[in-house]
């Protein structure tokens, strides 16, 4: 099959869906690669580099759409691009079928198969093609960098000869992939980072990235993020109020706020209100990653950077991944390449569009002249349902003491019972057994007791030597054989001699092996 990547026509888009490296990998799958001339220039890949990777350079988009069987691109297609598709061709790109119904209809009429990279289900197996996550990762990183370039201070606190600099305080709202990436970048730059998310189960992830999770004092049964494939869902008005109150309290302290809260298929929720912006210090920065969907802050202007009257900068760019085109193209092209690998199971250049496969089915939005969106629920749930975590209550000293007391009492009780039962048994035996037996019994019981006491202390790593030693020692049975060998008939002598011989093997073998083992233990 011929895979072709056209130049992105969207204004300001610098990414490209194929890199020289991904082209090489695609060719290993048995495909042929085409690219429109200059498609990779803005992402830092020259035509020359593509040519070296064995990619055919095509002079314009029309030619590319004509020759390629599979068109790979980044942005959702424009109308004129859809028109160029026809039955038998496949388009792989971001598509957002939920918001672009007209486009979906147009794709259906064209008869082409469309695979939407944004519809790849969130299951472990499909992570390698999860382009949304790879782009969100970049966006989160870039958001912090943008915030930093608009922020007039250091991120880290420093004590210098020229004075003390306080550390920057960063609040990240929404701890999805972008949010977590932002947290990671921000903490590694040295800022004090706080993070909030409506899904309390992500607190652990937030803390693992080195940020502090902002808990709400709100007793609602929060919905499990796992139900909706790991995305947040709409929250109740009361919850929203509690959340806003918390933000209002934090706002005056924060130097940088990065909002990433998006609910799939909806307008971005307003989380950072006008009065919060007004209460912030001059020079503070807000980066609104939800700008494209109306923004988490209503003051945000899409694709622009504005400064409010009280000196707060609000960054509303929507093209963060495009601003790091080389990096994002590399990742996106790899996602595409993995998708192609799943589509060509034979690695022979033949595409098998398996509609039974959860991942391929989920991402396909039109196929064979029909709209196949929305897909049926995948057979595999994205994330295992979170078990409600039971909070381990800190015990008070009184409780601890009571517990210790109870444990002590239980121990005493079991010991006393054991002693009583054991003693009773021995007494009972003493009633019937002859005195000589009782003498031996005492020796026996004491030895068992000593054995128990001694063995508890043996180091775990020495269990094998212990076994070898006890094995060697158990050949003490030789004493019995020695005592009998001089007594009685020839038959007895032979049997006893055999027993002596066997036990002797064991004595020497056992001790030597133990010595060998122990000689190996060494300290560095």
């Amino acid at each position: 099959m011929k895979i072709g990547a056209p130049r992105e026509t969207h204004k300001g888009e610098s990414r490209v869906a194929m890199t020289p490296k991904s082209a090489q990998e695609l060719r290993k799958l048995g495909h042929e690669c085409l690219i429109e001339t200059g498609a990779g220039t803005k992402a830092g890949f020259t035509d020359e580099a593509y040519r070296e990777a064995g990619v055919t350079i095509v002079e314009d988009a029309a030619k590319l759409y004509e020759t390629a069987d599979i068109v790979v691109k980044v942005r959702e297609p424009k109308d004129e691009e859809i028109e160029r598709l026809s039955k038998g061709k496949t388009l792989i790109s971001f598509f957002y079928p939920g918001q672009n119904e007209a486009l979906l209809e147009a794709a259906k009429t064209s008869g082409a198969t469309v695979i939407a990279m944004d519809m790849v289900p969130r299951i472990s197996r499909a992570q390698k093609m999860d382009a949304l996550s790879s782009m969100a990762n970049i966006a989160g990183y870039r958001a912090v960098i943008e915030a930093g370039s608009n922020f007039g201070r250091f991120f880290t606190g420093q004590v210098t000869a020229a004075g003390k600099v306080p550390p920057a305080k960063v609040l990240v709202v929404g701890a999805g992939v972008a949010g977590l990436a932002a947290i990671g970048t921000s903490t590694s730059l040295g800022a004090i980072t706080y993070a909030f998310d409506v899904r309390p189960e992500v607190a652990e992830q937030v803390e693992s990235m080195g940020a502090e999770f902002v808990y709400l004092d709100f007793a609602e049964e929060t919905k499990d993020g796992a139900e909706s494939g790991g995305y947040a869902s709409v929250s109740s008005p009361e919850f929203r109020e509690a959340q806003l109150a918390k933000f209002r309290e934090l706002a005056p302290d924060m130097d940088i706020v990065i909002t990433t809260a998006l609910i799939p298929g909806r307008e971005a929720p307003e989380l950072w209100t006008r009065d919060m912006v007004e209460s912030m210090k001059p020079g503070s920065v807000i980066v609104d990653l939800a700008a494209e969907k109306g923004g988490n802050c209503k003051l945000t202007v899409m694709d622009e950077k504005i400064v409010t009257d009280n000196g707060v900068t609000i960054v509303g760019y929507t093209d963060f991944p495009s601003r790091m085109a080389t990096q994002s193209s590399t990742l996106y092209a790899t996602n595409i390449r993995h998708m192609m690998a799943d589509l060509t199971p034979g690695k022979d250049g033949t595409v098998v569009h398996d509609m039974e496969d959860d991942v391929i089915r989920g991402a396909t939005v039109t196929h064979d002249g029909e709209i196949t969106y929305p897909p049926p629920k995948p057979k595999v749930k994205a994330i295992a349902a979170q078990k409600p975590k039971e909070k381990v209550k800190e015990k008070t000293p009184e409780e601890k003491r009571a517990e210790e007391k109870a444990a002590f009492a239980a121990q005493t009780k079991s010991q006393v019972t054991l002693l009583a039962v054991g003693g009773g048994l021995v007494l009972f035996a003493g009633l019937f057994a002859p005195a000589s037996f009782m003498q031996h019994l005492i020796v026996f019981v004491l030895s068992v007791f000593v054995g128990f006491q001694v063995i508890w202390g043996v180091a775990h790593s020495l269990h094998t030597p212990l076994m070898a030693v006890t094995n060697a020692i158990s050949s003490i049975i030789i004493l019995g054989a020695l005592m009998q060998i001089g007594s009685g008939s020839a038959f007895v002598i032979i049997l006893a001699a055999l027993a002596v011989f066997l036990a002797a093997i064991n004595i020497f073998g056992g001790f030597l092996v133990t010595r060998r083992m122990l000689a190996m233990f060494q300290k560095s």
């Binding site: 000589s436 068992v448 043996v458 020495l462 030597p465 212990l466 094995n471 004493l479 009685g488």
Partner: protein, 478 residues
Amino acid sequence: MAYGFTTAAYVVAAVLFILSLGGLSGQESAKRAVWYGIVGMAIAVLATLVGPGAGLWPVSIILILLGAAVGYQLATRVQMTQMPELVAAMHSLVGLAAVLVGFIAHIELRRVAGMTPVEREGLEGFAALIAHKDPAELAILRIELFLGIFIGAITFTGSVIAYGKLAGKVSSAATKLPGGHWLNIGAAALSALCLIWYFNTAGLFPLILMTLAALFIGYHLIRGIGGADMPVVVSMLNSYSGWAAAAIGFSLGNDLLITVGALVGSSGAILSYIMCKAMNRSFVSVILGGFGSTGGEQMAVEGEQVAIDASGVANALEDADSIIIIPGYGMAVAQAQQAVSQLVTKLRNQGKTVRFAIHPVAGRLPGHMNVLLAEAKVPYDIVLEMDEINDDFKDTDVVIVIGSNDIVNPAAQDDPNSPISGMPVLECWKAKQVFVSKRGQGTGYSGIENPLFFKDNTRMFYGDAKKSLEELLGKIEG
């Protein structure tokens, strides 16, 4: 006069044996502890030779020397990886010796019983000892020697089967004859009947019948236990050999035998208990063989096992600062401990933190891994137990799992229906990256799927552990 001396020597020997076992609490004191054991044994044997066992002493000495030669050969030739087999094989010797001693006691008992009082006065050695017993003592004696033979016979066949399983000569799978445990119960009941019969008649026939039944129990019981439970079995047989010695000690009226037998018996029992606890399984269910069946469905494992090659692992190791290695039986099978040791040396020379995490039941013997690593000269202060290291995984860059499976299975914690549910495991999946060196995609000894291999941060490094590691060594500088 001789007997007083013997008793004194026995006291000394008993104390030495106790010190010997107690001394194993630390690596350094253990070296001294073995000498205590050796000296104790020498004193015990010498004291017996000059005292109650003086009859035919030249024969005894010759036989001991012969045994020494064989034992020396065995102990010096054996590979460290074959240690479990050797220990199991040697238990069988003790078991057999106990059976022989028991039978001799019976023969002598019969002979003495048939004598006139005058003849009895002329007896020497062991026979003289029996001759001075009253009827009640003789009755007790019969029970004692019966028990000694019974336990000894079980130990004997059991150890032979355990040896066979560990050496790969017998299938390690848990197999039972038709009838299962009813056969064992039947054989045990038969033995109990024989005890009553023998107690009343003192005939040879019930004794032989019981011995056959006990031999069968030993054989069938151990056949029914899967290879993964062999550490517990070996330690249990160790315990049995001790109890057999103690029972024989009772019948011979020898306090040292009783003392040492009890020491060995109780130590083996505790060791078995410690291991069962480490596997979160009851002793009974181990002995009854196989993994218990559970009610519900096991969680299905989703995802795929992603393979990686040596250079991929090498790159990750170059980048890592902290590394934990989890060895298992697979390392022992592949004899990979030397390669592991070299790898560790190289990585440590680069200034990386490298540690070992040892699960209590890794391998086929308790402490099996420690011995192998020690053989390969891995310093023991970087070899840590599960409890010491389990909390450190989350701060670890790379974990290398070499030939272990069940002990790193997250299903033990996540899946209440898993056969190993509740067993403490090494939580290696919490590390940033996990590499699993494994021969193929098969399941482990317990035959259950391991979700670890399907996790996103796990990469499978397929191939024989030794070859894989040697390939890896070539790619790491230092």
